[in-house]
Symmetry: C2
Subunit: 375 residues, 2 copies
Amino acid sequence: MAKKPTVYDVAEQAGVSIATVSRALRKPESVRQATRESIETAVQQLGYVPSGSARSLAARKTGIIGLFLPNVDELETLSDFELTDHDTAEIHVDRPVTGRIHRDSLYFDHVLRGCELEAWSQGLSLMVSIGQGRGESDVNQMVHDMIGKVDGVIILARSVPDRLIESLVKRIPLVMVADAPIGGEKSMDLVRVSNRKGMCTLVEHLVDAHQIRSFIYMAGPDDSPDNHKRYVGFQEGLAARGISPESIPIYRGKFSRPTAKKITQDLIERGDLPQALVCANDQMALGALDALTQAGLRVPDDVIVTGFDGIEESDTSHPRLTTVRQPMVNLGRAAVSTVVKRIEHPDDPPYSTEMPVSVLLRESCEGVLEAIPAA
Amino acid sequence: MAKKPTVYDVAEQAGVSIATVSRALRKPESVRQATRESIETAVQQLGYVPSGSARSLAARKTGIIGLFLPNVDELETLSDFELTDHDTAEIHVDRPVTGRIHRDSLYFDHVLRGCELEAWSQGLSLMVSIGQGRGESDVNQMVHDMIGKVDGVIILARSVPDRLIESLVKRIPLVMVADAPIGGEKSMDLVRVSNRKGMCTLVEHLVDAHQIRSFIYMAGPDDSPDNHKRYVGFQEGLAARGISPESIPIYRGKFSRPTAKKITQDLIERGDLPQALVCANDQMALGALDALTQAGLRVPDDVIVTGFDGIEESDTSHPRLTTVRQPMVNLGRAAVSTVVKRIEHPDDPPYSTEMPVSVLLRESCEGVLEAIPAA
DNA sequence: TTGTATGCGTTATCAA
DNA sequence: TTGATAACGCATACAA
């Protein structure tokens, strides 16, 4: 690896001063055409690439945005590996595992892509760290490491301990995605989705289009703000249609497919099925589908099932799941666009953004879509 | 946002020189206990975080590894978005779409996590860019932007144009994941998976355990090296069991679920089904499953179906898919670990690593696993 | 063990 | 339009 050329090398080769080289690169129009061209050739010949460190140091900004993603549990059990060159394959029977959760991975991936996309379109780079799931002192270390290298950070809910976030907000432009630490909702930049409105719209549709009056609500964990807001939306939707929310039974499916399946099976056995089973996320809706299908019941003919999130599997299940899709890519884009604003205007009051969601009506409530003429 | 403190501030507050502060931070043991402590308090009080730029500049290394991911097509059509604060939800009928491809997203996500994991354990940061899918000159720009900021780069196959890669190899430590540009296999660092051995092992199992003699092979695109190696493995497995590979019909499913479904339907109509349908990836195997299930055929009783990749859906389909799982997380870890080696030893001959795969025997070839006693 | 002084590769401010 | 030169914030060789 040859020693890297610097501005000095380029300047010498082009017969100008380093200041001119720097200018030619940053604001080409401030340099005479001829000069510019001779510099460009020198750059080409030498394969010169400006040092990001030097540039950042001098310009007092790095052009990098940091992104903190939550860990996914499957990664905690790290198998060892070695670098070998022999071609091998192990073989074994792989039994079904219950309780594995796939949702997060997809979700974060899309947010990441949204961030990268927007960062790129703004001429910025993206630095990624995966926080929670390691010890708190490790996360602490990672965070400090990162904020030394970036102009601002984006933090996904629950990827970094709350107390750390609060101390960060004072030091560096920071935006929270999906949720703020408890109590911090008014004091920092936020980008979220319309959980409430999404669920509300969905419920209104069920009442209006399908004359549903009897519901069961399958809730997520009590400590999840998403879960809470979705339930509030559920209540609102009912109330708007004159149905008393208090009359609707709630079951706690903990956002988990197997749990929801079990609950649904109980429901079936007891003959307690409602007209519609509204679930706080897709995983649970899929679990409900599993149970109903196994019991020989038809969805939506016998029972309507709906989810929330819009994970990929909601689009490949049988029947496909009516759900509320979160605009995950745009969530990422909005996050970047928000930090950028914060970087430029450190003293603005907190920005708070709600991204609109899409209620996707599919076969699990509509029946055979082919029968419905396209819009 | 208060002006950020520097070493000078810390030094003054602690009553020492900046050199001592620097030492206390880098190699604490080279500083007397008392001094160290007074520096630590100063750091705490001021909320000092070292500047990454300055540190990189002085140390001549950034501690950052760059990662290039391929784009996924869905992101090309960018819907506009705006930052608003009103709670909204649109609602519409969502018809089934054919041909959507989900594989990549998951795959890259896992590789990314592997990279991050390993980078972190080595005290490095990760910078991510999404290459291909934008214009070549854009990618070119992104790449140069990145290599100015990192110590080495990891490039996933097909995320960056070949010619660019070749010019990069000379300038900066670079590792290719999953594949090298054509012709470059011997001249750069590589991390791959055992496509060949995986398929070979799978086929041997089918012959040995299930007495399969009649196969059909569902191939991917001709220009995919992965596809090629899997087919070679397929041939090897057959040959090892005395079956002539030439006698096996090949259909080109282009790695696509709908295509494979169509082909399988044709096969069913013509009554040409084999004992086992071996597919070069999971998507195609799922397509085959779709067709077979619709036709009322039973898998594996009537036909055995196998995939390759180990995508999540292979684990949730009915029946679950026997497949070959690529160690995606470890692929990422190996990639990072390889660039690091290259950074430390710029003049070593090219490193080439094959990661072992796992053949996962599931219901699509084994039948009901519950019936088989656990190991 | 600690301090002094220099260099790292840019950008930016002045002059020219 | 261009050139000298002083920051930028830290690491490190050398001295003390």
